[in-house]
């Protein structure tokens, strides 16, 4: 059997980091901030969670530290793009690069190793029914985000800030404050995503261990049209591709083919969904 409950379980495990990061990206998108720094924020979360977990012996403190560190890191985007009105795309690219360099540098100076830090005494996150608590949290976050955006005044104002910032400002809603809020929130979510990746899916830190997952999250935001349920479906697609890739590898397919699978599936899905929406006025890469 190829499609069975095991495959679904591993797909659900693979999707958690993507989903958390993509939810943050979707909220930013709704507030009119194109956030492509998700990858870097996640990577900061990965390193901080592993370092804190190792020094304190508590995986939960690692999760907390990851959320705080990634939120602090997201301030670069908030200050640069919102306050100084810099280019969000370039800032995002620079943040992703900085995170690779910074975590590699810290790995060398703090742990004195290169490549991978992997210690048997490193505390990982416990599993409840096959999933970490962060996985359950990510599903709850989808529901909360969906309700906030569609039913709550905060979500309404957030969408207003994204769609017509001048009008929102006229009504006394500060676009800058809302944008700072969602960027910091996306930092927290990316930090949790990083902690899930480094302490949940595995228990180690490897240089550049996010390996494009933050970019997949950016695509998930596009695929899901920045709606929480859409983002969930997009992340599920990626999770299935990754899980199916591992399964195929077990059946003898070379690792390179399975490595590429999630990206190919994501691209394919992007083609199928965007083909119907072509001939729109182009934006700087944002979803309409």
């Amino acid at each position: 059997m190829f499609l069975d409950s095991d495959l679904l379980m591993s797909a659900l495990r693979a999707l958690t980091p993507i989903l958390l990061a993509a939810l943050g990206g979707a909220l930013c998108e709704r507030a009119g901030v194109f956030n492509i720094g998700l990858e870097g924020m996640m990577l900061m979360g990965c390193f901080t969670s592993v370092a804190t977990s190792w020094f304190t012996g508590s995986a939960w403190l690692g999760v907390l530290a990851a959320a705080l560190a990634a939120a602090a890191y997201s301030l670069i985007l908030a200050v640069g793009a919102v306050t100084l009105r810099g280019d969000a795309v370039v800032l995002g690219i620079a943040m992703n690069l900085l995170a690779v360099g910074l975590t590699g540098f810290l790995l060398r100076t703090v742990f004195g190793v290169q490549g991978t830090f992997d210690d048997p005494s490193l505390a990982g996150l416990p599993l409840i029914g096959g999933f970490t608590a962060l996985a359950y949290l990510s599903w709850a976050a989808v529901a909360v985000a969906a309700l906030l955006l569609s039913r709550h005044v905060w979500g309404l104002r957030l969408r207003g800030v994204g769609e017509a910032p001048d009008a929102a400002a006229t009504l006394g809603v500060s676009p800058a404050r809302y944008r700072y809020g969602v960027i910091l929130l996306s930092g927290v979510l990316c930090g949790l995503a990083g902690a899930q990746l480094a302490l949940g899916n595995v228990t180690l830190f490897t240089e550049n261990m996010t390996a494009g997952r933050g970019w997949i999250a950016v695509v998930a935001v596009m695929l899901g049209r920045a709606a929480p349920l859409g983002v969930l479906l997009a992340a599920l697609l990626f999770g299935l591709a990754e899980a199916a890739g591992f399964r195929l590898q077990g059946l003898g397919l070379p690792q390179q083919a399975t490595d590429a699978a999630p990206y190919v599936v994501t691209l394919g899905a992007l083609f199928l969904t965007t083909a119907r929406r072509r001939r729109r006025p182009r934006t700087t890469g944002a979803v309409q």
Partner: protein, 347 residues
Amino acid sequence: MTRISGALRSPLTFSVLAGLVIGALFLLGTGADPVTAYRAVVTGALGADGIGPTLTTGTSVLGLALALAVPLRAGLINLGGDGQMVLGGITATMTGLHSPFPAPLTVVLALLAGLAAGAGYAVLAALCENHLGVPLLVSSLLLSYPAVSLASYLARYPLKEPGSSLPQTRALPEGVALPAFGDSTVTLGLVLVAVAAAVYWFTDRRTAVGYEIRMTGLNPRFAAYAGVGRQGLTLRLMAVSGGLAGLVGAIGVLSFPYRFVDGSLTGPGYTWTGLTAALLAAAAPLGTVIAAFFFAVLQVGGLAMERTTEVPRELTQVLQAIVIVFLAARLRLPGRRPRRSRESEAV
């Protein structure tokens, strides 16, 4: 005095200085002496032992910086340099291994094959943006991963050197190589990349096409109004961009170690360093050359610094990114404005 304060107020100078100052703080944090460390970077990269490796690294960095600068000049960001470069490299290797022609002709064919492979793959990303509405930024990056995986597969299985434990192809036949300068690893590839830079400078400054590209970068809507077809321009710019990246890949395998080694093209991060250089110079031709050389010095000097002061070489990567963070917050790139409202951002 006014000239000095004017230069200090320029976003470029400010960003580079800010990067160096923050780098110095990092160095102090690890207990190293910043002056010693920075001196080790400069002497390590520009000293007698370092200049060869700097020029070799500089060939790839400048090649990719140019590749990414060409579309950036029109406000387009190509993030797929890795895939385009690696496909160029593996195609050049296959051409070099199987060409029935004499060695000098084979070298030319391999260079052209690498160029064509990179160009063709980049055009695919342009078609995704033009006809499917997938933003170039995303399509080029996502396409990069399968290309890198494909090249890795080819180097590890069908083209693998028999009996070797390394993930590398067979060595190219005798003579199928770019001529090197003396005993160094610097090859004719550096000259090819320098020629490409000169052509880019000339096109940018002296031709109608160059003007169209710059105009699109400065104001895409005005350029469209003036009759510049955006889709055609995207296609052509991506073909040139991918072609240059593919050429760098071909140069890489036609120089030492004269074969395709899995990871040797993507490992050093030429694509990101090249993009950083192009961003730093806002894709201006001369500036891109200077910035690429600056980053090649940082990259090679970083290794020397690691040897003499035991400060990890990753510090130089941190420096690069900090420079761009500061720059992005202060400088407006061609064609890319901060979003104020949905109307003003429709490019």
